[in-house]
Amino acid sequence: MSPRLVPAGSDSTGRRDRPLRITVDGEPADGIEGQTLAGVLLASGRTAWRTGPSGAGRGVFCGIGVCFDCLVTVNEDRDVRACRRRAVDGDVVRSQSRAHPGRTDPRPGPQPGPDPGPDHGHDPDHGYGHGSGPGHDSRSGARAEGEK
């Protein structure tokens, strides 16, 4: 089975749910107010939504905003840490990819699987300013980066 939300009826904390709905790459996903986007994504049966450089899927790892594995695009904001961002009803979430279509990867392992084209709703997340490679993103959503 997949990750899930503890049912309100059996939750020892006595919480009261207010439902919300977001879309994830065009598909609806239901959650409750107060959940993080990562919580909504996990509890709706998704364990991976971001694509690493090799094309391998990534989801939540550290859960507290440190590892940046769970980045998504939310509405107009790219590179949002899903594990820290509270879901808001109507949020439009798109998955991101760091896969380089033309990357020559000397290492073994799967090559880019999912097509990172716009038709699939994937957004290359080059917002951290790679020094090279296709799809370098210089939009205002790009972020400052620390020491190289």
Binding site: S10, G14, L42, I64, R84
Partner: protein, 581 residues
């Protein structure tokens, strides 16, 4: 009428909240900053208010004491609480010399410059207000009289084949999801790694209805028993912690979850997500005993091998670190502090896990000592002596933890050449081996650029300590590897150096920052600042001047990173332009 001393506290976990509490008690004005919506940190991670939980303390240890302290601090007239606020940079008062940070050229009023010239703590550069990683957050600067850093720690996870698969979580992630929003990561879960933290994680999962198949402690029975059983009087002082762990152990026993010592997860497998794991028996040095491998079906794996302190802010402030050799009983580097929690930098204090992994009770004591001293409280009062004693007991507990749960030196034996070490850049062990065995490439910066390990979005937060440890091994010595080329002209490389401590969008960087609290707003002790809940800087109170707002886009772009001050102090980007900014 002298203005109360202003103490800024970064981090509102157990240490930071205690620091704020003590500083207020000592008469200071306090600004408490945290990136979360509510105080508590990871230890007292609370349910979101939107959950309207009737019993929010149900999942918490020490909830009533925490809740009381939280109420007192947030409601205090001399406390400004800044939730959802990130410190994205620290700027030292002396901007010359080696190792200083230059997040932006400052436009200072003469009185501000004077105030910051001698013995002042670094200026905080803040991003205020949600939503998290949004694009419209407000930039502020904050100059306090003293700074308490209580930024805490995150899980350290050692790499193993398949650890990057979805469904493999840090132990802290599983805990945060279960405790913080009632999401469980799976139904057939294994919790593995090292240290007592595995117990509360397993207990949280059980409480939330998961089936925990087993809990694996990598430390062998002998090591763990020797570490925990010696000096029993040290444990007696940490009764709260001991009771918490006992509760967790009881939960494991109730659910018949095996707790196996000397066993680790050495591989995770699955198509697109974790489906099974391979566990193996370990020797005391954590090398695998051949032939003891066992395959276990799981839908989630939670791993943690101790904690990494979040050191970017102390490092940016210039605080000296004290080293502990990984794999030799220690878990890395921490901020060096004296008996009063002072760091090596004047007016900068540190408390909690960044000074050593010792748990919440010790963090509270450290925070209280730091907050009281930072506020200029009398050094000889009786409560402080009690706190110091409690803090010392906490440190003894930390030493005991480190002794009982050292990271064994044999863990790199789990790695294969194609094992991912840097998750962001997917740098594998082979690439690192090649770099470290080449004299030309093994210097930290050269290896970083050559292999890209540590260059990705997390900026080496996850792989940094691991890469450093592997490099030291290859260099065949402990702390000092090959020297940096002198031509670098850069401060010594450390995995904790992140001048930009939190992501900031270029649009936000380009917008001017106002001083969070103007000098004129310094209030005499006891004067009401109003309800703490509405002290988040509001637009009406601290709006940048009209001249700032009407600057052209071009001007704003040119003045990137230049905090300006309010009340008509206009920045002059052209005249103040720095050649290297």
């Amino acid at each position: 009428m002298t203005a109360a001393r202003h103490v800024a506290v970064v981090g509102a976990g157990p240490a930071g909240l205690a620091a704020a509490h003590a500083a207020l008690a000592a008469g200071a004005r306090v600004t408490l900053i945290d990136s979360a919506e509510q105080p508590g940190g990871q230890y007292h991670r609370t349910l979101p208010e939107a959950y309207a939980a009737e019993r929010p303390g149900e999942l918490q240890h020490g909830w009533s004491a925490f809740e009381r302290r939280r109420r007192q601090v947030l409601a205090h007239p001399r406390c400004t609480w800044l939730p959802e606020t990130s410190v994205w940079a620290l700027e030292r008062p002396d901007q010359d010399g080696e190792g200083t940070e230059r997040p932006g050229r400052l436009q200072e009023r003469p009185d501000q410059a004077r105030k910051r010239s001698v013995g002042a703590p670094p200026r905080l550069h803040l991003l205020c207000g949600g939503p998290v990683d949004g694009s419209g957050r407000t930039r502020r600067t904050l100059d306090a009289d003293a700074l308490v850093l209580a930024t805490g720690a995150h899980d350290r996870v050692l790499p193993f084949p398949g650890w990057q698969l979805p469904g493999v979580y840090s132990a802290g992630a599983a805990q945060a999801l279960a405790k913080g929003e009632r999401v469980v990561v799976g139904d057939r879960v294994v919790v593995a790694g090292s240290g007592p933290f595995l117990l509360p994680v397993a207990a949280s999962l059980l409480e939330a209805g998961s089936r925990v198949r087993e809990v694996l402690e990598a430390g062998t029975p002998g090591t763990v028993a020797r570490g925990w059983s010696g000096r029993p009087w040290e444990l007696a002082s940490q009764l709260g912690k001991a009771a918490e762990l006992k509760d967790c152990a009881a939960a494991l026993a109730r659910h018949r979850v095996p707790y196996r010592l000397g066993r680790a997860v050495v591989e995770a497998r699955g198509a697109g997500r974790v489906e099974e794991i391979v566990t193996a028996r370990l020797r005391p040095d954590w090398s695998v005993v051949p032939g003891t491998e066992r395959t276990v079906t799981v839908d989630a794996l939670c791993v943690g091998h101790g904690f990494s302190p979040q050191l970017e802010l102390p490092v940016a402030a210039g605080c000296a670190l004290r080293g502990e050799q990984p794999g030799r009983g220690g878990t890395g580097e921490f901020v060096a502090v004296d008996d009063e929690q002072r760091t090596s930098v004047p007016c900068v204090f540190a408390a909690g896990e960044i000074t050593g992994i010792a748990g919440a009770p010790a963090a509270c004591a450290e925070g209280a000592v730091a907050g009281w001293t930072a506020a200029g409280g009398a050094p000889s009062v009786q409560p402080l002596r009690v706190l110091r004693r409690s803090r010392d007991q906490g440190r003894a507990f930390a030493r005991r933890l480190a002794r009982a749960h050292p990271v064994g030196a044999g863990w790199p034996g789990w790695l294969r050449l194609d094992t991912v070490v840097c998750r962001c850049e997917e740098t594998d062990y082979r690439a690192l081996c090649e770099a470290f065995t080449s004299a030309a490439e093994s210097a930290p910066r050269v290896a970083k650029l050559g292999t890209r390990a540590g260059l990705g979005p997390c900026q080496a937060r996850i792989c940094g300590p691991t890469v450093t440890e592997l490099r030291d091994r290859f260099a065949g010595r402990a702390a000092d590897g090959p020297a940096e080329r002198p031509a670098d002209g850069l401060p010594a490389a450390t995995p904790h150096r992140r001048p930009i401590a939190q992501p900031i969008r270029l649009g936000e960087l380009a917008s001017p920052a106002a001083a969070l609290i103007d000098d004129e707003q310094h209030l005499p002790e006891g004067e009401q600042l109003g309800d703490a809940s509405d002290q988040i800087p509001s637009d009406s109170k601290q709006r940048p001047s009209a001249s700032d707002q009407t600057r052209t886009e071009d001007e704003q772009t040119r003045s990137r990173g230049e905090p300006t001050h309010i009340e008509g102090e206009q920045s002059h980007p052209d005249s103040e332009q720095e050649s290297d900014s």
